[in-house]
């Protein structure tokens, strides 16, 4: 059978896109449309579920099935959908406010349950749709409409939270680094279990340049470090710096002083999340921030698989469900006419 070969354009819906000109969301949308045809999953088997926020308008722009739901709850809709329809490819699109404040609870639980879905978290460290209040990932001291004297909240690190919840796939990418983003989305799609991809995404209206240290090509090589499984952690414009583990800490070292073999080697497959957690603690400006796949653990049963396995096991054990037998079970009595 010849299946039609789909192109990025086939995944575009007929709706006008209403993000601000220059928004990083366009880039993520473009990469998604580019990646999906390569997965070989029919459009009708693909569902995008989102919460509320700029990013959450995403499903309207995809020619797949989609649900734009309510604040922070996209993971819960995805849970009901995927649990009953494991045949579907389900993507959750969310933002830093949606996933981490109003939806913080569901974010943790979908990760620890390991539902086989993909979560893409657009992180611009600001509330865009509500016009510029600070978000759970905003820097301490950030002046916004709701924090004229500076934010006094300590920011939440989504990847640390995810790894603490023992998420089986955790990655970070950048809207501006399109190749890396496409590759990371593809890796996420290939993972069985909940995959989380945090995408640093610029809000050029309310928080322009917040992640410029990572986004700008000129600064990226100094301020980020690309994780590769089995490889030592090396970074810098001249690839002359590395990361070494000392006790429970990570430190930046100069390759002039330290041999490559003494650097930390990345193991994304490690079941124990401790090192992945340490990597998630690397924050600019003290450390380069890792991008790429932190963690990709295989062989952990997924929620949807298990709920359906239990149904199958119960059917195998009890045979074809028989309502008559159920209704007449236990103590009954007859009333004669």
């Amino acid at each position: 059978m010849n299946l039609p070969v789909l192109k990025a354009a086939d995944f575009a819906s007929d709706q006008d896109i209403r993000w601000c000109p220059g928004c990083g969301d366009y880039s993520i949308l473009a990469q998604m449309k580019k990646v999906l045809p390569e997965l070989g999953i029919p459009r009708e088997k693909t569902v995008f579920v989102s919460g509320i926020g700029c990013s959450s308008r995403f499903p309207y722009y995809m020619n797949t099935y989609g649900m734009h739901s309510i604040h922070g709850r996209a993971p819960t809709f995805a849970t009901g959908l995927k649990a009953t329809r494991p045949d579907l490819s389900v993507w959750v699109i969310t933002g830093d406010g949606d996933a981490l404040s109003i939806g913080g609870n569901h974010f943790i639980h979908v990760l620890r349950r390991n539902l086989d879905i993909n979560v893409v978290l657009f992180n611009n460290r600001i509330y865009g749709l509500t016009k510029g209040q600070y978000s759970p990932t905003s820097e301490e001291g950030q002046v916004t409409k709701s924090t004229p004297m500076g934010s006094i909240d300590h920011p939440l690190n989504p990847l640390s939270v995810a790894i603490a919840a023992e998420a089986t796939f955790v990655a970070r990418s950048l809207d501006a680094h399109v190749k890396h983003l496409a590759e990371t989305l593809k890796r996420a799609a290939a993972h069985k279990g909940t995959s989380l991809v945090e995408v640093y995404q610029n809000c050029n209206v309310f928080n322009d340049g917040a992640m410029a240290y990572a986004q700008e090509k000129s600064q990226r090589l100094e301020n980020t470090i690309e994780l590769e499984h089995g490889k030592p952690l090396i970074f810098g414009t001249n690839r002359d710096k590395g990361i070494r583990q000392v006790g429970t800490q990570l430190e930046v070292v100069n390759l002039k002083d330290v041999a490559e073999d003494d650097l930390l080697f990345h193991d994304e497959k490690a079941m124990d999340p401790s090192l992945h957690f340490l990597l998630s603690r690397m924050r600019h400006p003290v450390m380069p921030e890792p991008i790429g796949v932190f963690r990709d653990v295989e062989g952990v049963a997924t929620y949807d698989e298990q709920i359906n396995d239990q149904v199958a096991a119960a059917k195998a054990k009890h045979g074809e469900a028989d309502l008559n037998a159920l209704f007449n079970s236990g103590d009954t009595w007859e009333v004669a006419s």
């Binding site: 819960t76 009901g80 609870n105 469900a321 103590d331």
Partner: protein, 633 residues
Amino acid sequence: MSVQPEGQLIADKEISEVDGITVRLAGDSGDGMQLLGTQLTNTSALLGNDVATFPDFPAEIRAPRGTRAGVSGFQVQFANSEIFTPGDTLDALVVMNPAAMVTNITDLRRGGLLIVNEDGFDAKALKLAALTEDPVTEEIEDRYRVFKVPMTKLTRDAVKELGLGMKEADRCKNFFAMGLVYWLFGRSLEPTLRFIDNKFGKKLPDVAAANEKALRAGWAFGETTETFGITYRVAPAKLKPGTYKNMMGNQALAWGLLAAAKRSGKEVFYSGYPITPASDILHELSRYKHFGTRTFQAEDEISACCAAIGAAFGGAMAVTASSGPGIALKAEAMGLGFILELPLIVINVQRGGPSTGLPTKTEQSDLLQAMFNRNGEAPLPIIAAQSPGDCFDAAQEAWRIAVKFMTPVILLSDGYIANGSEPWKVPDVNEMEPIVVTHPPDAAEGDAPFMPYARDENLARPWAIPGTAGLMHRVGGLEKADGSGNVSYDPDNHQLMTDKRAAKIEGIANDIPAQEVFGEESGDVLVISWGGTYGACHTAIERCQREGLSVSHAHIRYMNPMPANLGDLMRSFRKVLVPELNSGQLRMLLRAKYLVDCIGFNKVKGKPFSVSELMDQIHEIADQPTPNDQHFG
């Protein structure tokens, strides 16, 4: 309906035939009173009596032992005719300790049997019950027929040879009490012996043996001592022919969902967050995975409702349940379900509110919550179950409406119905009509664009599910353009869609039966009730009718939309009385909708109505002149 003590106690045991008996068993919440009550109920049902039960227990798992706060009770009425309530006043009260006695004694009718576990009335127990002296006073002995039985001691003696520890031995005393009660009312021990064997026989043979001995000892005590001079018999009730089983409300609800799934060719996805008194629906459905039932214990109420909507989007029979405070949390998702126009059942097993309120007590004060607890114009159909067995039918009716009209449906139950029980006539599954569900099929290249918000003759939109080629569409909480379902901020479209959604829900009135009336279709007083007060209202009205009063009964099942003939019906009576276990919620709706000045009879005590208080109220209303007589000419 009551035990008639004939004269003094007599030496030879006499058997008294009575129409019915109401008995309450009360003890500490660790004493096994619920188990005792359930067994007595099942046994009575198997004898062919009509039964109705009312469990009443504290909200704490183990309130301090022996205190008034820790008293757990179970009331059952068994009768030789059809009954609709667990009874008003008690014919017999069994109490295991002083706290149980003082908190229950006022419900025992004068001359009723008071059976006291004498061993439970020591100084320590009196102190725990905050009493300075033995509550079994001379006055009590004059007023009731009191039997003091040293149940703890007799139980210990009965199980002595098994070598159990004191604590284990004492734990069997509820079975001793059970045996005595069974003897007194001529119940067979067989079903309970079978229960003991099933529950403990294999795993804990010692416990099984001890319980059996205690049960038999209780029976033997009644038979051999001179304490009791009379026993009572209640003949089988004349119910409709068929197979029956004793059924609790939450179980009937779960089974109704399974039946609805079968009728519609679906499998149930049920999501819930633990809450009293709804949790048992989750427990029950979790046992039926072989029916394809998937149950999801969510991280919170919001998640539970949203997960159900996700499952509905995927084509499952989606159900979520909670009690009032949990429903409050689900509200935003219910609004989304409404605008998505997806079928969903949201069950509210009401309890005393507001907020955490009275978790184990009954109330019907969430009607206005069901009507209005959503932002914007978001009417939802509401169905109220009226009795434990009726939950089975109500659940199926909720699903029928949900899929026919593509809308979430609210199903109201309450703690009284959920934990109460009654005989349930086992239906013939082969006679169940199908509930028709259609999903539009794959579309081909070149077909007209799919319109997810096109409407059929019921104004329902198509239930197109992911996986269907060519029907890709996006749903969401933003206003939909008519037909295409695209996001639309157009003012006229919002008006149109608001009107269409409202008309769809209002149109359900044409799809439900006309309001039935028990009694004449016009007259002096129309009593309008809903939900779990059905039994008490029906009984009260039936008795008032027998007394010659011109009173009729309309018990509403469809709370929204209401039956089309209800307004005319109300105007055919001089007065309309609306008894409710709230401060007048249905009355407010009736007045607003039909401009008829209903009279309320309201109670918010965490307790159901008694038949007698309703009868008093009906008498009072019937005797009063009507303030608006001129409207009736």
